[in-house]
């Protein structure tokens, strides 16, 4: 009889600990099932529709892992307080908790930028410096959406994070959000990356609406050749200039330019290869999975997520329009030498936005090759959105205090 009792008790204990039992118990949250369903939809989009699969696949799977009840792989509650107990995270945290520290402390986005820098050819921008203005104009959406989000009742800090989606730059959006509005991180990251994937659908109608047939068929002069020396000086100069004016943009712009220096200087090929391949891939996995893991039912299934998704789209559209309209200004001033279609590439999604300019241009004139011309504003957009992020951070971050308290805590640990 004892044996039977023991077995029954064991079975009951086991059943109590299954995910299903936990979901429907008092402490469980049936909405986790909805989150698992959303994760599966995102996986479908990543794998079948190939929406930014490199990021969306890990994000979706992270979401799946974090919403499996009882797995304890990620503890969102560790990070909900403004005053995070890092000692607790290290002692009791699961795998994703530890990896999430890289997001929380702002380590991954700059490292991703290092890789992007090593992969990016800034030649078209150096050859045509005026195209950098298009990268600035395309930040319009960031600030207009910031304004809109404040009007819709988000706090100023939340509005900054939402606006930055318009920069079409995933790492920058994550970097700003983790500082200013960490609770919105999953919604913003998912919105930012989804819209980046949807660029070929979102941008062309806006581009066509704002330009005339004549403007779209402008053929631009061939870009001049850029010397090796210019390519090497470029990252150094950009870092100094941006650093002196917007120091808060340095973690992003600085690493972007370091990566680019690795690429161009020609003496550290191994470092350049590592930055653009192994390191980038490792960080992408960590970043994707942990950002996905923050999307738990409690934080994600809210009205603000829906508002963010809508506002993100608005930000994207205004940024595109800002770039194209400024392109039209340049068209006028240059006496019809600049094709306004390259303006839309000022949003920083490299190189998709530039490809869209190329494609729309070729629909008007099949012999027109705008790709290299559009790469200029495209890479300028990366710098532009990092500067915009720097502006927000400079105004609203209390990171100096935060950094001080983190250091204090680390010492207290010992």
């Amino acid at each position: 009889m004892d044996f039977l009792n023991f077995m029954t008790q064991g079975m009951v204990n086991f059943i109590d600990k299954t995910g299903l039992a936990i979901i429907f118990s008092k402490s469980g949250n049936p909405l986790n099932l909805a989150m698992i369903a959303i994760a599966c939809v995102l996986l479908y989009l990543a794998i079948v529709k190939q929406f930014e699969p490199l990021l969306l696949a890990p994000i979706a799977f992270g979401m799946l892992l974090a919403n499996l009840p009882g797995a304890g792989i990620f503890h969102a509650e560790f990070f909900t307080h403004t005053d995070i107990d890092y000692g607790l995270v290290l002692q009791k945290g699961g795998l994703l908790d530890i990896l999430y520290l890289g997001v929380k402390l702002g380590i991954y986005p700059p490292l991703i930028f290092l890789g992007i820098g090593a992969m990016t050819d800034f030649g078209p921008l150096i050859a045509n410096p005026k195209s950098i203005l298009l990268g600035a104009a395309a930040q319009l959406g960031v600030f207009i959406t910031f304004l809109g989000a404040t009007l819709l009742g988000f706090t100023v800090k939340e509005a900054c994070s939402i606006g930055i989606i318009g920069g079409a730059d995933g790492p920058t959006a994550i970097y700003v959000t983790r500082l200013l509005a960490p609770h919105l991180l999953p919604a913003i990251a998912i919105a930012a990356y989804s819209y980046m994937a949807l660029i070929p659908l979102i941008q062309p109608p806006i581009m066509k609406l704002l330009t005339t047939k004549k403007e779209r068929s402008v053929v631009m002069d061939q870009l001049r050749e850029v010397s090796k020396r210019e390519r090497i000086i470029f990252p150094i100069v950009v870092t100094i200039v941006v650093g002196l004016f917007v120091p808060d943009a340095v973690p992003l712009v600085g690493t972007l330019m370091l990566g680019n220096l690795f690429r161009e200087c020609g003496v550290v090929e191994r470092l350049s290869k590592t930055a653009q391949n192994e390191l980038m891939n490792i960080i992408t996995i960590f970043l994707g999975v942990t950002v996905g893991a923050t999307a738990t039912a409690g934080t994600f299934l809210t009205w603000s997520t829906i508002k963010i998704v809508v506002l993100g789209l608005v930000a994207f559209c205004i940024s595109t329009a800002g770039g194209v309209l400024f392109g039209k200004v340049m068209y006028k001033f240059s006496g019809g030498k600049v094709n306004p279609l390259i303006g839309s590439a000022g949003v920083s999604a490299v190189p998709m936005a530039a490809r869209v300019s190329q494609k729309v241009g070729q629909q008007e004139n099949p012999t027109n090759y705008l790709l290299m011309h559009a790469m200029g504003p495209n890479v300028a957009g990366v710098i532009g959105s990092a500067v915009a992020a720097g502006v927000f951070i400079a105004m609203y971050s209390d990171k100096t205090q935060q950094a001080a308290s983190i250091i204090q805590k680390i010492f207290n640990l010992g």
């Binding site: 150096i126 410096p129 203005l133 910031f146 090796k228 020396r229 100069v237 917007v246 300028a380 927000f392």
Partner: protein, 125 residues
């Protein structure tokens, strides 16, 4: 509410201004960088030449066996246009034969040797 709106408006205007200002400055800096353009290629060549000389100097000791070996390598039937490819192959062979790395020596010259054997033995090879 009004205060928030004013704050948001000012941040919007200020933010756009800062972004434009910084990128306009960068534009002028990039324009100024054109000054470096014409000299650049010459400088590159100099660097490459210097590098060659340095490696030649450091290869001093190894240069002797390398020459002996190259003299035995027959380069029959290889087009002269493929020089760099040929030298890459030769240095790999020498490195393997000397059990060293290819940066420890420099191939200064190579020469096609007349075949030692008869036409028959060449065919057999």
């Amino acid at each position: 509410m009004n205060n928030t709106l004013i704050e948001a408006l000012s941040v919007t205007v200020l933010g756009m201004l800062v972004v434009f200002l910084v990128l306009i400055i960068l534009m002028y800096v990039l324009e100024a960088m054109k000054l470096f353009a014409p000299k650049a290629d010459k400088k590159n060549n100099e660097i490459i030449e210097n590098k060659d000389e340095e490696s030649k100097a450091s290869a001093g000791k190894e240069a002797v066996p390398e020459q002996e070996i190259t003299s035995q390598v027959s380069t029959d039937g290889i087009n002269e246009q493929n020089d760099s490819e040929l030298i890459a192959v030769l240095s790999a062979v020498i490195a393997a034969a000397l059990n060293t790395q290819s940066y420890n020596f420099v191939i200064k010259s190579y020469k096609r040797l007349p075949s030692r054997g008869s036409a028959w033995s060449r065919m057999v090879k």
